[in-house]
Symmetry: C2
Subunit: 205 residues, 2 copies
DNA sequence: TTGACAAACTAAACACTGTTTAGTAATTTT
DNA sequence: AAAATTACTAAACAGTGTTTAGTTTGTCAA
């Protein structure tokens, strides 16, 4: 009875197709302006079909977010070969800045928009990628603290300070809010990296 | 001929009424879910009337943002009595955190949403408040640098690092993205303040 | 005070949006 | 071949921002 297996496979392929095309549309237009009808056109099915595979727009979007987190995770994992925890942490920070600046649309979908679905429900979907990104960051931070190489010794405080800073800078850059500072684009980009460098320097024990 | 003056006054009153009610609705529902029709209901006029006073939803929203920036500015100005520039900077940071945490809806309208209108056009409207907030921050920062009390001596780098950090932390808090850190609300709030304190300590020359 | 003009306002429409319902077409099972 | 199940969609619903065309209101000169 290979039929049900094939059906299951086809169903998964259809899901993947929807997520793939939805990702394109979300990236191109942003969350609000990306419409179910546009996504439906891209997959060459009627809008109603999407609702046979996803509860609503938010849950589809969550799946798309997971794809974006996968991209960031890949960049993060590249840093894990670095031995020195402080250098590894610094590299994570740079990777974060690189990712946000190179993929502002992805970054916006991941971190700027309000969370579409609250955490309790998220377990239902493959939310791994976002969690893994966080775990990588925290474990690296813990290594720094364990090695006594960080001036801030509480992991939550350090996490908030560092993640807050890099996220804040990328947010300001991505949303153009930094423009009130009246400095050109390239300079702003430089400042972002130098601010990370400076802060990392201050953080070293 | 006081008639045209009265008319001008009435027109301004109508504008103010719209902005006042629009602010309420934006705060209650957020940018996307706040509808022109809902705002129209609150002012007890038809939706079309709003378009006689504002080009479109974005320009009305810009006016509302200006109100929010006025609130932040008021808090910022309270810190200006402090003599020591470092302490003043620290107080500014705290005021920023206080404001964001106490008024998450306002904060979201001001800093999380993408800019509705680009900067070049903004001059047409009273965009002063946002600028003044920035000026206050930068002048305080400059005072710290001039007094040789800051480890970072480039104002743009310091601005990006500090504003980035406080904005980032408030953003993470306001959008609930910090929840991936798996710490309760009150703890997160504490962390935010302690992260600022720790960073300020590191920044001191 | 009346008639003309201008300003203020709105009902209705247009082209969209997310989502649901009811019904059709295709496929699998009996 | 008939029945049952699955996959899909056309059409509708209630909402959105915005525009148009027309009405009501207020002002001013005759």
């Amino acid at each position: 009875m290979g039929i049900s297996e094939r059906k299951e496979r086809e169903r998964q392929e259809m899901r993947d197709l929807i997520v793939e095309k939805a990702t394109q549309v979300f990236i191109e237009l942003g969350y609000e302006k990306a419409s179910i009808r546009t996504i439906a056109e891209r997959i060459e099915y009627s809008p109603a079909t999407i609702y046979l595979y996803f509860k609503d727009k938010d849950w589809l979007f969550l799946e798309v977010q997971s794809v974006s987190f996968g991209l960031l995770l890949k960049e993060f994992e590249k840093t894990q070969t670095i031995e020195d925890p402080i250098q590894r942490l610094h590299a994570l920070g740079k990777a974060y800045l690189d990712f946000g600046i190179a993929n502002p649309a992805h970054y916006e979908l991941m971190f700027i928009n309000k969370e579409p679905v609250n955490c309790i429900q998220k377990d239902e979907v493959e939310w791994h990628n976002g969690m893994k990104v966080m775990e990588l960051f925290r474990s690296t931070l813990q290594s720094c603290i364990d090695a006594g190489k960080l001036k801030i010794t509480n992991i939550d405080i350090a996490a908030f300070a560092i993640w807050g800073m890099v996220h804040g800078m990328v947010s300001l850059y991505v949303t153009n809010h930094y423009q009130v500072m009246d400095i050109p684009d390239e300079v702003a980009r430089m400042m972002v990296y130098q601010s990370l460098d400076a802060t990392m320097e201050l953080l070293k024990a």
